[in-house]
Amino acid sequence: MKCWNCETDTSGSPFCPTCGKIAERPAGTSHFAIFDLPLAYDVDVPALEKQFRELSLRLHPDRFAQAEAKERRLSLEQTTALNEAYKTLREPTRRAFYLLKMYGVDLEREDTGTQKDMPFEFLEEVLDLRESLEDAMAAKDLEQARKMATDVEARRKAALTEAVDMLRSLERSPSDEAAVKKASHALGRVRYFTRFLEQVEAFEEEALS
């Protein structure tokens, strides 16, 4: 990407290395690239936070209040992208989902696909779990719901660990389709378990209020 002001190649940095003007980012810059990080699961979160604070200060729209329109706009754009990237990368689950998307499987999208289709047995199990929770809720049995939540939480953690293992192995062999599918299924399980836990939480709030 060339600097809009002096035409130097900014090579993706937030400011032009030559004239120091705030730079444009190519469309589709990844969250990892914003922090100059490799596409990898393991992130040093305290270092990320430090980098985030420094960049936030330098890119803050307040600093560009008197600048020309183009710079004001870029400061706003970069700040928005920076916040989104930080929010995603600092949190392990969000980071894992994002990384999977980089490998071509976007679990946020509604279309189904062979990579995403969960095994029938698993969906059956989720349905059973949700039915049991429904029974516990109808009986106002908070104890039982909490017991189920403890079990599901352990399984959610195990599924996330499995997904992370797969994502780490993909860093070494990025075109391993079987690993992408395994990571996708493991994160799919994380999603269904998280949904279950949200339901328990809502029930707890209702029961305690």
């Binding site: 679990l107 946020e108 999208r109 509604e110 279309d111 189904t112 995403k116 969960m118 029938f120 969906l123 059956e124 989720v126 349905l127 949700r130 039915e131 429904e134 799919g188 999603r191 269904y192 378990f193 998280t194 949904r195 279950f196």
Partner: protein
């Protein structure tokens, strides 16, 4: 976002909630999930040997739009032939319920559930024929 009156109606008075006997050779079970939200939908169809859907039941754990979508399709498929039911598309469901774009995936789920249930029924029938 406000739900349409039709969604609210199906959500408050869902039609055909329940279970059919999964082991009945004339019952097809479709089970689908939405990876975007972590919700699940089960749709069961009781189909005559002539291929007419005589009963439909569903159980959905999800938002109002997902419940309304599955409730609506159970009403629609009853009395239809398997081939007719296969032509029901998510667009029909979304239009009927006036679903907003962010809820389109709920209608996709309902369409997928019909197809999965019919698929299950056909597989069962084929297995039976091979045995005979």
């Amino acid at each position: 976002m406000a739900y349409s009156d039709k969604v609210i109606d199906h959500y408050e008075n869902p039609r055909n909630v329940g279970t059919l006997d999964k082991s009945d050779p004339n019952v097809g079970t479709g089970l689908v999930g939405a990876p975007a939200c972590g919700d699940v939908m089960r749709l069961q169809l009781k189909i005559t040997d002539e291929g007419v859907i005589e009963d439909a039941k569903f159980k959905t754990f999800g938002c109002g739009s997902a419940i309304a979508s599955s409730s609506l399709v159970t009403e629609w498929v009853k009395g239809k032939t398997v081939d007719q039911a296969m032509t029901i598309s998510n667009k029909d469901v979304a239009r009927e319920l006036a679903l907003p774009p962010v809820k389109i995936h709920c209608s996709v789920l309902a369409e997928d559930a019909i197809k999965a249930a019919i698929d299950d029924f056909k597989k069962k029938r084929q297995a039976r024929q091979e045995q005979a």
